[in-house]
Symmetry: D2
Subunit: 339 residues, 4 copies
Amino acid sequence: MIVVMEAGASERQVQAVVERIRGAGLNTHISVGVSRTVIGVVGDDRTKEILRESLEVASGVERVVAILQPYKLVSREFLPHDTVVTAGGQPIGGARVAVIAGPCSVESREQILAAADGVKAAGATLLRGGAFKPRTSPYSFQGLEEEGLRLLAEARDRTGLPVVTEAMDAAQLELVVRYADMIQIGARNMQNYTLLREAGRARLPVLLKRGVSATIEELLMAAEYILSEGNYQVVLCERGIRGFNGHTRYTLDLSAVPVLKQLTHLPVLVDPSHGTGKWRYVAPMARAAVAAGADGLMVEVHPDPANALSDGPQSLNIENFAGLMASLRPIAGALGREI
Amino acid sequence: MIVVMEAGASERQVQAVVERIRGAGLNTHISVGVSRTVIGVVGDDRTKEILRESLEVASGVERVVAILQPYKLVSREFLPHDTVVTAGGQPIGGARVAVIAGPCSVESREQILAAADGVKAAGATLLRGGAFKPRTSPYSFQGLEEEGLRLLAEARDRTGLPVVTEAMDAAQLELVVRYADMIQIGARNMQNYTLLREAGRARLPVLLKRGVSATIEELLMAAEYILSEGNYQVVLCERGIRGFNGHTRYTLDLSAVPVLKQLTHLPVLVDPSHGTGKWRYVAPMARAAVAAGADGLMVEVHPDPANALSDGPQSLNIENFAGLMASLRPIAGALGREI
Amino acid sequence: MIVVMEAGASERQVQAVVERIRGAGLNTHISVGVSRTVIGVVGDDRTKEILRESLEVASGVERVVAILQPYKLVSREFLPHDTVVTAGGQPIGGARVAVIAGPCSVESREQILAAADGVKAAGATLLRGGAFKPRTSPYSFQGLEEEGLRLLAEARDRTGLPVVTEAMDAAQLELVVRYADMIQIGARNMQNYTLLREAGRARLPVLLKRGVSATIEELLMAAEYILSEGNYQVVLCERGIRGFNGHTRYTLDLSAVPVLKQLTHLPVLVDPSHGTGKWRYVAPMARAAVAAGADGLMVEVHPDPANALSDGPQSLNIENFAGLMASLRPIAGALGREI
Amino acid sequence: MIVVMEAGASERQVQAVVERIRGAGLNTHISVGVSRTVIGVVGDDRTKEILRESLEVASGVERVVAILQPYKLVSREFLPHDTVVTAGGQPIGGARVAVIAGPCSVESREQILAAADGVKAAGATLLRGGAFKPRTSPYSFQGLEEEGLRLLAEARDRTGLPVVTEAMDAAQLELVVRYADMIQIGARNMQNYTLLREAGRARLPVLLKRGVSATIEELLMAAEYILSEGNYQVVLCERGIRGFNGHTRYTLDLSAVPVLKQLTHLPVLVDPSHGTGKWRYVAPMARAAVAAGADGLMVEVHPDPANALSDGPQSLNIENFAGLMASLRPIAGALGREI
């Protein structure tokens, strides 16, 4: 941590800052430059983090520059090798590109079974489907709730595809754990710390989606909440950030893939369906995600998008999904992976 | 709602869309232009909203343009007059500019009482203070929890200032309702629909903060969740959006004030502390907020910012807060309000 | 064009708007809904565009919704087939993925010839290099100017690679036309209309880079300026937009590729060097760009990035560029293209 | 400047970096922490700036942190007191809040004289009006050019209001200097370095508008270009940044006002007309700007907005402008200023 003093900071102000740092049990390196004095702070990271805000307010201080990342357990420094998360027997991370596919929400037994059969035949490795739907409007379809979870479990039993589904609070989490193979925490809940802690105590792997305005650090800190409770089975998912390209619902930040792969050992997926909001752009962006090095995809597939109760415009039908899967194989192969 | 057909859409595609609309019990107005056919949809709003996504996916459709806002109860059309919310006897909305002030988090009995006394003396009308703190890092101070609520209640009894404090889940909400006068829902939870619904069933007024990447519509829809459960005592709060002006933590979107005042009857506050993240910028932005027509302010004030356990850098000390209050009075007066 | 009247608009206000529209020689379709009257406007597009702003200000009007895009010549409706631009004999657009490579700026004869030889050997199809450098700081290296252009021409003569280089004003444009094969208009000048018009009168193809906060429409309108002067040889280039992922200089908006390919017949390139600002991320994002369907790449390559006078941190060395080219071939192949 | 080495950087890598720094004539302070070595760089700022990029690419380096701002002449450290710019005898900066008002573009003699008379009567101190219009569409009205400048000069002679008008290239600059009292450089040209340098050599004061995605540093560096050529008469203007509040054209970043006032000695104006794009929001945001400490305003006023050839929707009519001026006076008074 480095404390940059103001241009006109007095000797006394510098001294007061140094004393505060040393009083906390940390060491200082003082460097007097032409126009500014800079104080390097050496010692325990936790202590530095606690001290940081108070130094920012100290008299004569211009700013405090952090040198280390605020996260620990999720960092590549902590675990240098790629983590492979296993959900219902299916690996996420590693040589095989994982593909989670299925409808936005479970609407009926017929719909979810048709979707599951279709995505299974096309090569998906996990099944998605929402039982509790976080909808912007209180007047929209809100999901089948426990009945939806039961139908997802039936679809898993029939196809062998492990099930990934979202929980939005502790009560839902308990139900999700009972029926599913992987807990999804949605973008809107990425900083719902109560939920993150509960998921950290659950015995299922967690798929954590990036909030639409979350920085890379905020995403990693949210994952840190889960790991800090003992659950190391966490998968990150880029799903688009708030942007101004009005032709897509969000701006899919694919550069987050190589950035995250450098900073963390956790697997990184991409959701091109929410990221674009339009089915026409899902296939090119799915291909781009795999080429960028993503460990997998999360894709919305519906047997009949025109009659979907939610997210129809961004859902592929079974045929288009099968076409996408076929087009992904040589790209994965070009990167030394399989799909 | 208006359906714009693609440039080369066939007569048959147009017909299929028209039949789908009429089949849902809505009427159509067809307008054949030089390069495109446009279909106006007339009838029940709820039906239109349900039909919208499926029309977007229909063959030959370029896009669907919504004409009406998706919210109802929060809109000015629903209630043309300004709502005045009352929290612990204090009005928010109306001629008097409300000022909610206090520390980011309750740290100790001494700290919260000193803060409460100080902000009361300077003219604040409500007391803020966090008992449960949503911190980006799992390793940071997380709040005094119920003990913090008890101390807030003591501070209220002593000063007469009603208490506003944040709840992050249903369990916390129950405690907050027991001790406080107004429930705060934080920016990170703006789309935590479970919490919004619970708050909608509570008997206390709600302060709803805008998410850092939430559009105006998303904020109004989040409020609609609360009103749709029967709780009409909702106050909105702009607190900064994600931006790229690195000198401030967020970009305070003051234009949200006149925009919201036009669209909704609910009171609108501004939080310049989180909006800027630096105490130096709090006073000018607080003055700007009042001048822009905000119904009130939410300001972080700490008796000793340099030793605050959270948000020290953006907290005013008591003296600076008193100075700010003095400077606000003539501005409020210039707008025909008092403070 | 559709005019949405306010909820409480009077019969008289509707009548006044209708008269204004008809007075301009356009027709109207009036649709009276439950809560609003909507007026469809039919007729000549140019007239509509001129009328639009005045209707927005008319009494009783809530908003005006444009149905058509404001651009003409660049649109796919105008030319349904992909345009192939030819620069110095090299095609951009079509089955072959074009690769423009070279240093940020021409620094010396030795440097540009080494760069040209290196990128040629690795398979680049055009050479880039800046003679006039738009630098954020007036104190940074500003380019070799005409001498730089002469060296670029020498590199072309030696390697056969056509030369792409930036012009920032009319005087530079004249020089660029004398020495180069393609005019680059940089992101900072995307809305420099004087320059766009001059480029539209030049006899060379133009590479137009998207501004860092330009919408898709603004980019297409900037291209329209060039085409409207008679120069149809325009290539668009996505190079990153302003974002908040602090690990990259900009956020590379790859979804702009399929969006632009749908809207326009012009070829679309991607510049992963400026888009990320860090050489480590250039290769994955270059692969992603090709997988997303880009017609080509623009990549910064320097024989010795550690001693580059500009953009060293985002430049590949020759070896890494050759590795990138090798990795791109199977991806291009997977999409039915070659490189 | 501080160089942070990677966690696993070798002794040899550290040594190589130190030698490179010392070889450039700078000194180093090495601080070996628990997990990282940090190298402080001391010495001449220009040399550091030149070295920075090459250090970022050096083997074993994680990142380079700049301590000093890259600008000099515009900084408060260079000139601690507020600069007062004088345009045609009217001060901008200082106790009096300057108000530049007038139409977006000069459309006719009648229109500009009516506008000038109106804004003069209401208390404006300078007259604005565009002769060359940077329009997004090549098919829109592009301005009266020299005839427009002549009309502006006539309006000045009649009212005594100095004239501010935009130049988009060197040729226009020459004409603007001949007729006007202050050169405006628009947001789209904020990084048109050719134009900035030319303006730096002109003998008129310059109004420099912030680009819609320009950071505070980029704005200050653009101003530095002008000052570095010898012209210290520069006024900065915030006019809205790219945001996602769809109800306003841009997001007016009023926090830029106190941030800029802290960093630079140059006067800071706000343009609420472009910042919001809707006349309804101009008055509240103008009041907010003055309350935030802006040195002045730039407001679009048109005698007949419904028939304006450009920017009608965001223009005030004379009556509304007079009302705004009246409402600003007590706010300016509350801040110890006059208007």
